[in-house]
């Protein structure tokens, strides 16, 4: 039986142990330490963080948007959400991953080094992925590519045999489609 059940010294053996991925948009008061509060919650309670992005999105309303990608069983995900909502600095938590209208995008900078056929092939793949070349030397490119996280994964995989040197990714951003605002507190 698993014994890593957060929140208890005992285990929930009757619970569904299948892990799911979730993306939450967390709207917080923009004040010092707020990111630490959110990150600290995840580490203190043993929750996963797969990616996390944060920036002030509304200066007038002192609001920042934290997009966090996490994973866990249905019970854990519900706990994560409830624990986030309970924080004094949190205005709203929106489950953008579960939202059928949600879109997820990520940006990556990918450095590739090579010559000859590999160099040509890298440029060709970049075109297919609509990646931009933002820096070039005679033996390297830096590509800027954006899209769903899975698309970035695929791009990076393809670059691997062509001389992949280094990858920088922003982490996932997410927003709901359509004309309506999907989060409160803004």
């Amino acid at each position: 039986m698993p014994t890593d059940q957060p929140g208890s010294a005992y285990d929930l053996s009757h619970a569904d142990q299948t892990e799911h991925r979730a993306t939450y948009a967390v709207i917080v008061d923009n004040e010092p330490g707020v990111l630490h509060r959110v990150v600290g919650l995840f580490s203190a309670r043993g929750y996963n963080i797969e990616s996390l992005t944060v920036a002030e999105t509304d200066e007038r309303l002192h609001a920042s948007r934290i997009t966090v990608v996490t994973s866990g069983t249905t019970e854990i995900l519900a706990q994560i959400r409830a624990q986030l909502e309970k924080m004094v600095c949190v205005r709203d938590v929106h489950d953008v991953g579960r939202d059928p209208l949600g879109v997820e995008r990520e940006l990556a900078l990918v450095k590739v080094r090579g010559a000859g056929a590999d160099r040509v092939e890298a440029l060709r793949v970049a075109e297919i992925f609509r990646a931009k070349v933002i820096d070039t030397t005679l033996e390297s490119f830096i590509f800027e590519v954006s899209g769903a996280p899975s698309k970035i994964d695929k791009f990076v995989d393809l670059m691997e045999p062509l001389g992949l040197v280094e990858v920088a990714r922003t982490g996932v951003l997410s927003i709901g489609r359509g004309a309506e605002r999907h989060v409160k507190g803004l």
Binding site: Y10, L12, D29, P32, H36, A82, E85, K86
Partner: protein, 600 residues
């Protein structure tokens, strides 16, 4: 403070420019604070200077900052008002951390003001600098570093709002010394605009309440499982619980934190639930068909083995903290709200629909409960030679119950025996460290209780190990003329550690003997308290009376049986219906399996 007084104070303060330190003091006065617990130091001197001129605030000087936080907890728990603490930067703040975590775990409203080095020195490893907001971020409900004196009025008033509303908890306000000197306009509680829109839900969803009441009405084997949330919801919640329990005819049990919400003298009272709860309470929890959890959180000390926890019941959980619902135990009906408000609505729904309990089924249920009660799970073997710890508490209870009595405890066997053998008829009478289990809590907490209730009898039921963790506060009790009674069950062992080593670690008593104990009678006298000792059963009553009749602080060294185990007990990793009673004690070690041994 009355509304009228508040308005007057506001009018007087509206346009006043004050220093940050004066703002702190004025804001405390306007929040109705009458007592604060603190210890001065370099980084809070301006606030202490402002306190010097403010007769409305009674500052109590403790001997260690941990004492200040526990005293504030005792004050808060016994009055329902927030406890207030004032300490300096660095070690002042870090010493306060234990009490802050304790308040977080037990949902105690508390506002802790800490001094900080001046803003221009923050981050320079200045003398007595510590990252107080960083250290306390995970152990507070919320915390602040105040960078400008202009923000102080809002932050202090907001801190009180956050500490006392929703699920109560500690809030830390860290104030750099230059901010205490800087000048800014003061604003009263009604003038400030809160930066955080903190408005927790207090009223339960009517549809869920109707569903819950329907379940209770159809129940054949109902039980109320109540916790500290009833106490936090105020005395009205306890009254409503009594009324609802009487209407439904259901038995009531409670967690350690909830003792007193339901009267121990009521025939429907089953005693405490959990690891050292009663046989009848735990078996009733296991076998019930509808469990009504009010303001408790399915803590591991209550549930025992989770996959065998009350397997056949439908569960209703009322909690003001949404994250408590479905955290450890999945429930059928979760109701977010304040216990008093939800109980009010439950009662109205019950009466409105003309529900009647199923009397035939209840009578069978009570028959079963009476069988469990007949096992007399708290029975112990008295002796002519040596005082049994259970007997000491029974006699203390018998001799003090007709007085206006408040009880605090330290942590360990004595705490569990106190919970089992001292009986509480009212809320706010029992102060103990439940969630964090902090040895050293009881004496300072008793000081806080005594300050709030000067004419009451306040007893700290202690162990000889725990009491030494904050013993220095005896000096505080003497300074302020607080007649607290420290009743030490002295068995010369860290009893609960010794018990676990006996039962789970092959009787290897590793570092659990309290060697080189002080002479507690002489120690009491050295502090200016009265010291008493009882060593034989026949002198117990007379000594207890002497303690109770003495007008001043007393340290009572009650020498008890050294090897007594605290029973009954749900062994680690076992279910409620696998409780071990005193007569089966030899078997405990053998019934705990490998998985259970790894649990706390």
């Amino acid at each position: 403070m009355t509304a009228h007084q508040t308005i007057q104070a506001d009018a007087a303060s509206k346009t006043r420019i004050m220093t940050g330190a004066e703002i702190v003091v004025q804001a405390l006065v306007d929040q109705g604070v009458d007592t604060l617990f603190g210890y001065p130091g370099g980084a809070v001197l301006p606030i202490y200077d402002a306190l010097f001129h403010q007769p409305k605030l009674n500052h109590v000087l403790v001997r260690h900052e941990q004492g200040a936080t526990h005293a504030a907890e005792g004050y808060a728990r016994s009055t329902g008002k927030p406890g207030v603490v004032l300490v300096t930067s660095g070690p002042g703040a870090t010493n306060a951390v234990t009490g802050i975590v304790d308040a977080l775990m037990d949902s105690i409203p508390m506002v802790v003001i800490t001094g900080q080095v001046p803003t221009h020195l923050i981050g320079s490893d200045a003398f007595q600098e510590a990252d107080t907001v960083g250290i306390t971020r995970p152990c507070t409900k919320h915390n602040y570093l105040v960078k400008r004196a202009e923000d102080l009025p809002r932050i202090i008033h907001e801190a009180f709002h956050i500490a006392t509303s929703g699920r109560p908890g500690p809030v830390v306000i860290d104030i750099p010394k230059d901010v205490q000197f800087a000048q800014a306009p003061y604003q009263g509680p009604d003038e400030v605009r809160h930066a955080h829109a903190y408005a927790p839900q207090t009223k339960g969803d009517p549809a869920r309440i109707a569903e819950a009441v329907e379940l209770i009405a159809r129940a054949k084997r109902p039980i109320f499982y109540t916790g500290g949330g009833i106490i936090n919801a105020g005395p009205r919640a306890s009254e409503l619980l009594r009324e609802f329990a009487a209407l439904t005819g259901a038995p009531v049990t409670s967690t350690l934190m909830g003792l007193g919400a339901f009267p121990a003298a009521d025939p429907a009272w089953l005693g405490m639930v959990g690891m050292h709860g009663t046989f009848e309470a735990n078996n009733a929890m296991h076998d019930c068909d509808v469990m009504v959890c009010l303001g408790a959180r399915f803590d591991d000390r209550v549930t025992g083995r989770l996959d065998a926890f009350s397997p056949g019941s439908k569960k209703i959980h009322v909690d003001i903290d949404p994250s408590s619902i479905n955290k450890n135990v999945r429930v059928e009906v979760g109701i977010i709200g304040d216990c008093a408000s939800v109980l009010e609505d439950m009662l109205a729904a019950w009466k409105g629909r003309g529900h009647q309990p199923n009397r035939a089924a209840l009578s069978v249920w009570w028959g079963q409960i009476d069988d469990w009660r007949a096992r007399q799970c708290l029975r112990y073997r008295a002796s002519d030679e040596v005082i049994k710890p259970q007997q000491a508490i029974e006699r203390l209870y018998a001799l003090s119950k007709d007085r206006d009595v408040y009880v605090t405890t330290e942590v360990g066997q004595h705490q569990m025996w106190a919970a089992q053998f001292f009986r509480f008829e009212e809320p706010n009478r029992w102060m103990t460290s439940g969630g964090l289990g902090t040895m050293g809590y009881g004496l300072p907490a008793a000081i806080g209780v005594q300050l709030a209730h000067p004419d009451a009898l306040v007893v700290d039921i202690a162990g000889e190990a725990s009491i030494q963790m904050c013993i220095q506060e005896l000096s505080t009790a003497v300074q302020y003329g607080l007649p607290v009674k420290i009743f030490i069950l002295n068995n010369e062992w860290m009893g609960m550690v010794r018990q676990w080593q006996q039962l789970l670690h092959g009787e290897r008593y590793s570092h659990s003997y309290s060697s080189s104990l002080p002479d507690f009678v002489k120690l009491a006298e050295a502090y200016g308290c009265k010291g008493l000792r009882a060593e034989r059963p026949e002198e117990l009553d007379a000594r207890i009376r002497e303690m109770l009749d003495y007008d001043g602080p007393v340290v009572f060294d009650c020498r008890v049986e050294k090897a007594e185990n605290c029973l009954p007990m749900i062994p680690s990793g076992k279910a409620h219906n696998e409780m071990i009673l005193a007569e089966e004690v030899e078997d405990i070690g053998s019934v705990i399996d490998e998985a259970g041994r790894k649990l706390v």
